[in-house]
């Protein structure tokens, strides 16, 4: 039902729902998890020291009992912080929320309270022999980037950056498209271009400002040349008047936009 897929930049978990829909969840890498953990450690230490100071004042007359209460409270907070927050706050601790991470069940569902406790209690093993070495080795060797606690509890940590509906692209909104004057060739372009090729054109246009001028010129030239020679030979007198970029903008207008060849 679930299987990890590797990509160049990140590892993803693909989940197939009973309805036959596939969706991917980006898994969190060790670095962001480490940062989130450091934030959590600072928070726990802050809380514990705060309680310690408070206890010191309250139990000033009976320091031994004060020490007892503080020691046990610290110990309990160390484990309960992660377990309770993850269990009741949608799989996030404060550190995880800051770094847009979330713990979920392996099947893509929210994690259960038992799972939150198990994965946090298992930290005693993942932290061995020092500095979470065991957990780190486990994350790097696991296809789902799970530490041992995650493997036992059946959970994983996903990246969850907030997303909005992507805005329309400016290049999609051009009014006039000279390619529409050659409907036969335009229809041919629509029919012959594979989704991969169409995506490539779209991507090249979208990343216009990320590309170095030289690289952009080269890529646009290659793409336009390929389209012109292999797929949609528009008349030379038209093509000569267009830059490579305009050629691609027109093509993507034909491919994606409402400018259907009439």
């Amino acid at each position: 039902m679930t299987q990890p897929t590797g990509a160049s930049t990140s590892v993803e978990l693909t989940i197939a729902t009973p309805e036959g829909v596939l969706f991917r969840l980006p898994l969190a890498g060790p670095a962001s998890r480490l940062y989130a953990m450091l934030v959590d450690i600072v928070i726990v230490l802050g809380t514990v020291n705060g309680i310690g100071l408070l206890g010191y004042v309250i139990f000033a007359k009976v320091p031994g009992f004060g020490f007892m209460v503080i020691t046990l409270a610290e110990f309990a907070i160390g484990f309960a912080y992660g377990a309770l927050l993850e269990g009741f706050w949608n799989g996030q601790t404060i550190g995880k929320r800051l770094f847009h991470l979330r713990v979920i069940d392996q099947a893509g569902l929210p994690l259960r309270i038992e799972q939150a406790w198990v994965r946090n209690l298992m930290r005693v093993f993942d932290a061995l022999p020092f500095a979470y070495l065991m957990g780190g080795i486990s994350v790097l060797s696991s296809p789902l980037m799970q530490r041992f606690g995650d493997r036992v509890a059946g959970t994983l940590v996903v990246r969850q950056t907030p997303l909005a509906v992507p805005a329309e692209e400016s290049w999609m909104r051009q009014k006039y498209n000279s390619f529409q004057e050659y409907p036969t060739i335009a229809v041919h372009l629509r029919r012959e271009a594979t989704p991969e090729l169409a995506g490539l054109i779209q991507d090249a246009l979208r990343r216009r400002n990320e590309l170095a001028p030289y690289a952009r010129r080269e890529i646009y030239r290659e793409l336009a040349k390929y389209l012109q020679s292999e797929i949609s030979p528009f008349p030379d007198e038209l093509v000569e008047r267009l830059s490579d970029e305009q050629y691609l903008i027109n093509s993507s207008g034909i491919l994606f936009g409402d400018q259907r060849p009439s």
């Binding site: 829909v21 031994g64 020490f67 110990f75 005693v124 041992f148 997303l163 329309e168 991507d203």
Partner: protein, 335 residues
């Protein structure tokens, strides 16, 4: 066929927005229960959005839109297929008190792993005891601490009240907290070492057994058997079983990991591990209190016979608790 993205987005955007706002409302609700109208709406919107996702995945290369739809479908999927416990129920104290019954029930249900833990520890005890008995030189290796090697001096110090732990309630309280923390850490480690397929758990129990056997034989050899019994048993009758239960949890975890696919009810099995750990932690709190406040007092303040009698009473209560609590209900359920 390449999708006409522009027209498609204009048509579909309203349903994405309404799914998003429905999900936002559900996720912020603590118990996450749906009423029938919401459930139907969620189901419909989920199906439509999933179809949209399929069309975008196969009909266009629009990575951002695809990511957005995937996120939306993932969230809706999670809400539809997740059967949450009601959170208001979780906060009822009576639910938490169930642990006192669940612990002995789980202990009995998984008793064969307890037997395995006992076996490993007894083997360790035998090895440690025999080594000290027949090879006095091994004492230096097995018992690193001086007070364990030379009980005579320690017993004298303890009886004179010159031991490390003076009889002040203050220091005793501090000492008990340290003991509780340390013991729970060790026990939790034994339970977690189950992920090494039980090998780590077995080694830890075995080593513990060797120490126990060696100390027992050493003290008895030198004629301090009664002192040692009175010194160790009042807390040992809780401490030793709790380490054994930690071993039980560890072996149980190992078995769980080895046979994960057969085990359909992972949730119940994980709960069993948690209940064992929670139960042994409670036992160790008691053991820590006894060790600091009671065990460290020796004759003539507390006669040894009295301490041993207390230990025996504790053990009897613990046995009754572990073997009998909830038995009738479990039996009735089974029938």
């Amino acid at each position: 066929m390449i999708l006409n993205l522009e027209r498609f987005q204009v048509q579909a955007r309203p349903r994405w927005t309404s799914l998003e706002s429905l999900l936002g409302a559900l996720e912020s609700r603590p118990d996450r229960r749906l009423n029938p109208a919401e459930a139907q709406q969620l189901q419909e919107l989920y199906a439509q959005t999933a179809t949209d996702l399929n069309r975008v995945t196969h009909g266009a290369l629009a990575p951002e839109l695809r990511q957005y739809l995937e996120r939306l479908v993932a969230r809706a999927y999670a809400e539809l297929y997740y059967a949450p416990p009601t959170r208001s129920e979780i906060w009822q104290p009576r639910r938490w008190l169930r642990i006192f019954r669940a612990f002995p029930e789980t202990f009995r249900r998984q008793s064969r792993y307890f037997a395995l833990a006992v076996l490993v520890t007894v083997l360790g005890c035998a090895l440690g005891g025999l080594a000290v008995r027949y090879d006095p030189a091994s004492v230096d290796v097995l018992l690193p601490a001086d007070y364990l090697r030379n009980p005579g001096q320690r017993v004298h110090e303890e009886e004179q009240g010159q031991g490390e732990h003076r009889n002040s309630a203050q220091t005793e309280a501090a000492f008990s907290a340290q003991l509780i923390r340390h013991n729970i850490q060790v026990a939790l480690l034994a339970a977690a070492l189950g992920v090494t397929f039980g090998i780590g758990t077995a080694l830890l129990l075995f080593e513990n057994g060797i120490m126990l056997g060696a100390v027992a034989v050493r003290y008895t050899q030198q004629g301090f058997g009664l002192f040692m019994t009175a010194w160790l048993l009042p807390h040992g009758v809780f401490e030793i079983p709790s380490i054994l239960i930690a071993g039980q949890a560890g072996f149980y975890l190992a078995r769980l990991l080895l046979h994960r696919r057969e085990d359909r009810n992972v949730r119940q099995s994980m709960r069993d591990w948690l209940v064992l750990v929670a139960g042994l932690a409670m036992m160790l709190v008691w053991a820590g209190i006894m060790e600091a406040f009671f065990s460290q007092h020796h004759a003539p303040v507390l006669p040894y016979e009295f301490k041993v009698a207390v230990a025996v009473a504790e053990l009897a209560l613990l046995t009754i608790y572990l073997l009998l609590t909830g038995r009738r209900e479990t039996g009735a359920k089974a029938r």
